[in-house]
Amino acid sequence: MSYFFIREESNNIQRCINLNFLGRHVISIKDFSREELDYILKVANQMEKFYKTGSNLLKGKILATLFFEPSTRTRLSFVSAMFKLGGEVISLSNPEMSSIVKGENLTDTIETVQNYADAIVLRHKAEGSSKLMSELSRVPIINGGSGTKEHPTQAFLDLLTMKNEINGKIDGLKIAICGDLKYGRTGRSLAYALSNYDIDLHFISPSALRMQPEVTSDLHKLGVSVQESEDIMPIIKDLDVIYVTRIQKERFPDPAEYESVKGTYKITLDMLNGVKDNLIIMHPLPRVEEIDYQIDKTKYAKYFKQTYYGVLIRMALLGLILKGDNLSF
């Protein structure tokens, strides 16, 4: 059993936190404490060994991937992670080939699939879909992205990228999350994840794509320093992280709204004159036009390295959820 002890200065009591994730659902980044996040990042780094050599840690276990929205990285990295740990995968990646087209709802789908697999990764356009399914599934549900709100495993890998690529720690960083903050679930999840750390957070977006008010309200209540702006240039030289997101065309209820903001922001090479030497530029991908291709070969670009960290994070999550703390490295 893994425990993490912290000392509460007010009354000198050691608080014991159970870090056994066996059977746990992964639904929202808000469900995870700082201690739990740090533990997941630690295990992810330990998984590097198995990334290279493979493992039989999850031999005999089956992961079902149910993707009702397109995915390249999330789905393939979960599949890769599971194979690297000796497990197997069954997939529903084309809803058109399933009983969904016959009118079957998600509830009946999960009630069925939980009999085929030891864990389920679910991506669905409806917000709250993973949360509802976690209430009825007896196998762990991992949220692979739900609507415009949640993408917890992306947030984990984003934290791991920052930790590993800048000085080994997240506290003290100055971070700008840019782009479509209204409809983008990755920026939202990352903001909540970062609320557990002592950071300086900036939201940079066109005014029509500002971060949802309930998120900024929550962050203020959590004591996070958040500045909102439409222009990154006044602060770019102070930043440690620029996290860029794509305008989520597919989520705009009004096509005219999308047309009015399309192409309104882009990170280009000339913008990076005078930035910090250890600045990193991140993006959850897919990238469309918001980062110039000339930046790809610079030392700042970490968005493809993020995809590697995505495999480590998913290996860590699958190991912890399916094996608990019986992980021997």
């Binding site: 709802n105 917000e127 709250g128 949360k131 008010p213």
Partner: protein
């Protein structure tokens, strides 16, 4: 006809709606919300009991108020507490044989299931899944509630527009 004292007669003259023998009196409803209160407790008028409504009547406490009297029905606690969503200062009087046998203020429950819809069209509770809406109270005054599934926050206007 029963003999009454002069003060009782004078009091009755002042009442726009006469006293009921048995049932529920919902008093101090926010002005203009009487019909919404009936909707939120699921009363349509087709149930058969006599319902009296007074709207925008003078109130010493709040200037104006609405009052609803439902004869021969005592509202259950879960019905009563729904009223708090749209009229947090309402009071409930249970009447038996013309006497107030129970008087309570409505109170907001911490979590509300199935009473109102989430306004987010993309919320899982608005699809074809067997699930009721589920909200927790964010703030009591002014009221705001948050959907447990999609995190959408709804305020007083969002709640009342559903009725």
């Amino acid at each position: 006809m029963e003999d009454k004292s002069k003060s009782e007669i004078d009091t009755e003259k002042e009442l726009r709606v006469r006293k009921i023998k048995n049932g529920t009196v919902i008093d101090h409803i926010s002005p203009g919300n009487a019909l919404n209160v009936l909707k939120i407790v699921g009363i349509t008028g087709k149930e058969g009991m006599i319902i009296s409504i007074a709207m925008n009547v003078p109130s010493k406490k709040s200037g104006t108020k609405d009052v609803v009297k439902i004869e021969n029905k005592e509202l259950a606690p879960e019905e009563i507490n729904r009223i708090a969503l749209i009229s947090p200062n309402a009071t409930i009087n249970i009447i038996r044989d013309y006497e107030v046998i129970q008087k309570n203020k409505v109170s907001l429950e911490e979590k509300i299931r199935g009473v109102i819809k989430c306004l987010n069209p993309n919320c899982i509770t608005n699809g074809n899944e067997p699930v009721k809406s589920f909200f927790r109270i964010e703030q009591t005054n002014p009221i705001s509630i948050r959907c447990e599934y999609c995190d959408r926050i709804m305020d007083y206007d969002d709640i009342t527009q559903q009725f």
